[in-house]
């Protein structure tokens, strides 16, 4: 537990001090929203059913962008290797990084989602559900993006291959986060989607930690 605490504090300190992490995420998010808003114009009826796919596309891209700060910097300055020879397991390193990344994303989206809801004319109830969807879906998205960042180091920073390799893993999450759009949106249907997202997280967690361990071992060779 003390190992987790040490790593957690380290990640939090580094990333809170690194203004670029939050700035990259927020600026990408807001600029993308603005592009969509200007593209659709003032006709809100045209974007009424589209806001969910839009926000998830923006989220996936911005999380992928942020994951670079968490993994690349540590790999290239030797910190990742340092943590390994200090005896921290690869799984714990990745878990702590993903956890801190998730916390920062949630903290930022807490302020960004209301802005998004104003631009897309979303009701308060829908905004709340959207926020909960983000809370339940982003742990899996974060883990996948961390694996994706590790892949990109292994593949020599080839972002296209990185995205092709990891993209299929995003699909189930996107399906369940946007599906409430197609059916009658009752609290029950939302609840079942939340449970499915939690279920997906428990599948993603061991899988991503295992894959990360394999990639990190390969990186040291």
């Amino acid at each position: 537990m003390s190992e987790f605490k040490n790593l957690f504090q380290r990640e939090l300190l580094i990333n809170l001090k690194n203004f670029l992490v939050l700035f990259t995420f927020s600026s990408f998010f807001i600029i993308s929203i603005m592009i969509f808003v200007f593209a659709f114009g003032s006709d809100f009826s045209a974007i009424d059913g589209l806001y969910k796919p839009i926000i998830w596309v923006i989220l996936i891209f911005s999380i992928t962008l942020v994951s670079e700060h968490f993994i690349y910097n540590d790999f290239f300055d030797g910190s990742l290797k340092e943590l390994e020879f200090l005896g921290y397991s690869n799984e714990l390193i990745i878990f702590c990084k993903s956890f801190v990344m998730w916390l920062l994303i949630i903290f930022t989206t807490f302020f960004l989602v209301p802005i998004f809801s104003i631009f897309f004319n979303i009701s308060l109830k829908e905004t709340l559900f959207l926020f909960f969807y983000i809370v339940f879906a982003t742990p899996s998205l974060t883990l996948i993006s961390v694996v994706s960042a590790l892949f990109s180091i292994q593949l020599g920073r080839n972002k296209i291959i990185q995205f092709i390799l990891v993209f299929p893993f995003y699909i189930p999450i996107v399906i369940f986060t946007t599906s409430s759009n197609n059916i009658q949106t009752t609290t029950n249907s939302h609840n079942s989607n939340f449970l499915i997202l939690i279920g997906i997280f428990f599948i993603t967690l061991p899988l991503c930690l295992f894959i990360s361990r394999l990639i990190m071992r390969e990186l040291n060779r």
Binding site: R10, K17, N18, D77, E84, L86, N220, R221
Partner: protein, 222 residues
């Protein structure tokens, strides 16, 4: 025996780096690995630190197999690798404090002045590492040794980027550690004149292969 490497074989990128390599490091001993670039000096330290796994052979630290060390690694040795692992957006003080925390060493505020004074970093303690020169960064990395309680030091090219005054201070630090019962395994590409030290020369397997000589050649009086 502080460190024992027994019949270790290592391959990297289909190239044999070590074949049946042996090494013994005793208490208070300073051992220097000398060799040209690509000879395997860093790979050997990575092997000892458990970052790389040997194809064959055993590595023992304080008679415990390195495979069984896990979190005890932090108490057994301090490894300063060729990359400084410093965070550019943190100050010198924050970097050292963070390192102390993750390496299970203590960073006491009152003692930190002595640590920073050794390499003349006291006035720069609130400076971001990103604003420092390569030499100053190296001094910050070497300051970790002053915080370390481990008996075994693994140092990868510790004199790189340092001015002559700092090189002397680093050598003094190494001797003091050795006198206090510590052991040091360090790499260097130049043969520095270290008193009471044992030297091992690693030869680049690539250059030897071309001349049809053995893929690995070593000598030393250990």
């Amino acid at each position: 025996m502080v460190l024992e490497i027994i019949s270790v074989c290592l391959k990297r990128n289909k190239r044999v780096i070590f074949n049946n390599f042996n090494l013994k490091l005793n208490k208070s001993q300073i051992m220097i690995l000398i060799g040209e670039n690509g000879a395997g000096k860093t790979s050997l330290l990575d092997l000892v630190a458990g970052v790389l796994e040997p194809e064959k052979g055993t590595i023992k630290i304080n008679n415990i197999s390195s495979k069984n060390l896990n979190s005890n690694k932090r108490d057994m040795y301090t490894y300063l690798s060729n990359k400084d692992a410093l965070k550019e957006n943190l100050t010198i003080e924050e970097n050292l404090m963070m390192w102390s925390k993750i390496s299970s060493n203590k960073f006491i505020e009152t003692e930190s002045n002595n640590v920073l004074d050794y390499f003349g970093l006291r006035n720069l303690r609130k400076n971001l590492v990103g604003n420092l020169s390569q030499g100053q960064r190296k001094k910050v990395t070497l300051s970790k040794l002053l915080l370390s309680k481990a008996k075994l030091w693994l140092l990868d090219e510790p004199f790189n980027s340092l001015d002559s005054k700092s090189v002397k201070k680093t050598i003094k630090l190494i001797y003091t550690h050795s006198k206090n019962g510590g052991s040091i395994l360090l790499t260097n590409h130049i043969d520095l004149n270290f008193r009471n030290s044992k030297k091992i020369t690693l030869v680049n397997s690539h250059s030897k292969l071309k001349k049809n000589k053995p893929t690995f050649h070593k000598w030393g009086d250990f």
